[in-house]
Symmetry: C2
Subunit: 357 residues, 2 copies
Amino acid sequence: MTSSPRKSRKPRNYSPLGLHRVIDPPGVLPQAAWQLDADPAIAPDEVRVRVDRLNLDAASYRQLREAYAGDPDKIRGAVLEIIATRGKMQNPVTGSGGMLTGTVEEVGPGSPLGLVPGQRIATLVSLTLTPLVITDSLARWDGRREQVPCEGHAILFARSIAAVLPGDLPVPLALAVMDVCGAPALTQCVVRPGSVALIIGAAGKSGSLSAAAARRAGAAKVIGVVPTEAEAALLRETAGLAGEIVIADARDPVGLATRVEAAGGPADVTVVCVDVAGCEGGAILSTAPGGTVIFFSMATSFSAAALGAEGLAADVTMLVGNGYVPGHADLALDLIRTTPGLRALFERRVSPEGDQS
Amino acid sequence: MTSSPRKSRKPRNYSPLGLHRVIDPPGVLPQAAWQLDADPAIAPDEVRVRVDRLNLDAASYRQLREAYAGDPDKIRGAVLEIIATRGKMQNPVTGSGGMLTGTVEEVGPGSPLGLVPGQRIATLVSLTLTPLVITDSLARWDGRREQVPCEGHAILFARSIAAVLPGDLPVPLALAVMDVCGAPALTQCVVRPGSVALIIGAAGKSGSLSAAAARRAGAAKVIGVVPTEAEAALLRETAGLAGEIVIADARDPVGLATRVEAAGGPADVTVVCVDVAGCEGGAILSTAPGGTVIFFSMATSFSAAALGAEGLAADVTMLVGNGYVPGHADLALDLIRTTPGLRALFERRVSPEGDQS
């Protein structure tokens, strides 16, 4: 901890959610705000981070690249303009942000995050709610990829989750793991020993971690669903991750459920990890009465899930995959370290060729 | 997929899920279909119902009313057009349907529903997957309410849930109760004795039933959120339904959470029963760590819930409200019969003036 006095440097009320940083419109949550105050002076429960890299959300970067026809100068200018105007990196078109890495610079005496100056960290909350200032005009960014080397500072609130970057894993790998770490954490909470777990999208990042988490939770059988033979081959290389591999289109409920049943289903717990729309019915239909479906795909439609279960008279519990579960980053990093083959599978997903999920 | 042991009246395969009724696109579940075959000739495991009333989903009716500025002729025309085109009543904008009542007309020899011709029933599966034909041009509907008197027929599949209408309650009341009966059933499953339950939209149909269910489950405190003083007065008349009444805009997370806390929150279980968008953050923020949010509003955004919880670092379990829980209709009807004042509150919601939901 720093030796700063237990006195606020700012003569105002402050909140663990960062409400005191909201400029416009007043009274909303930081994520919903148009503009945040990114003043480097911290409140007693805040942390200031020296930022070295932004990892833009894929949807946000794609929108910028398309809007400016791939022109690096214009893309860079647009990102700088957004951050300068809004005090945070939130693409006004997509509404999405991303995450950042940096070094802890100053820790308020009331911060509950347990951080220490000098630690290298990654934020696990979105850039859409993180006060941010860029000071190097993004001069080192070529505008051609989502990872943006930069200089500047960011503010963490009392309830902003951050993780210390592990020393034994490359930063891009650790970031990719942390980005999806909510999925394995919730999977491990829900799967009971002896049960059948079904992972839809089992060769992807969140899917492979969730399969490993299901095994660790004691699942008697893990069925992995993949869309193609190539993905199945990838999954087979990771011996033991999924005992049964099913090649199926998850958007086809009847086809999926039929194949899952042949592989030892229906499942007690189904985890949906594919970012394509229309997988709700198949997930529900592949789950046993009394079972649970966890939706981690951002392409999930709430009404399709709710009405789908009703329409199938399916007695299943359906969970919205919460990206935050206490201890989620440590759990996921531990799975990567200890599950044979998982790291190799994951690294192929992190490489430029393997960004499908 | 089924190899029928009996003889089908239709020279085609049939399935308990109604796959044989799907025209476009082929191979999807009936709910996902753009168009169903509503032919009155039934398969051996189907039931045909003579329909006398539709109960449109609140979100669907509101969308139609707003799209046509409340013009009854245009609303009626739009509903007729949807049913004629799609072979079912599924609002293309909201994706939602509703339910129906009618009289059992013909029961296939292989139907497992246990129905007998002449029984007055209500469907508990959505209109979004129920083959439907209207034959009276909705001439008796004034277009001013969700309940639509009509003539026509509908088809129930082997897995379509239906309930025989109770003899001791008026049909519009029983129908309105059954329409939302999944909410109190799931609420009763989730609320633990001694806990704090928060019902957002507590003076509405699903909200008032859920409040009663929370009480029955042994909640130590039930906090009811309503948007206006008028709604609060309505709720106060139903003595004991909500021990604390909070008037707040549920779309304002900070305002809602502050008021809920003052009323004895945060909640262990929060039930979202209001059909307006943007209530996810407030519900999450009003729920204690380790608590549960049940989303019953069809206006819920999956990504707003998932990203909202992550952005708030909220350790909450979020459930997609499943409209089907075994025994849900009987439970809800029992609550209406036995909870003092609930029936009176509910009847005001069913009356023409009280259609807010």
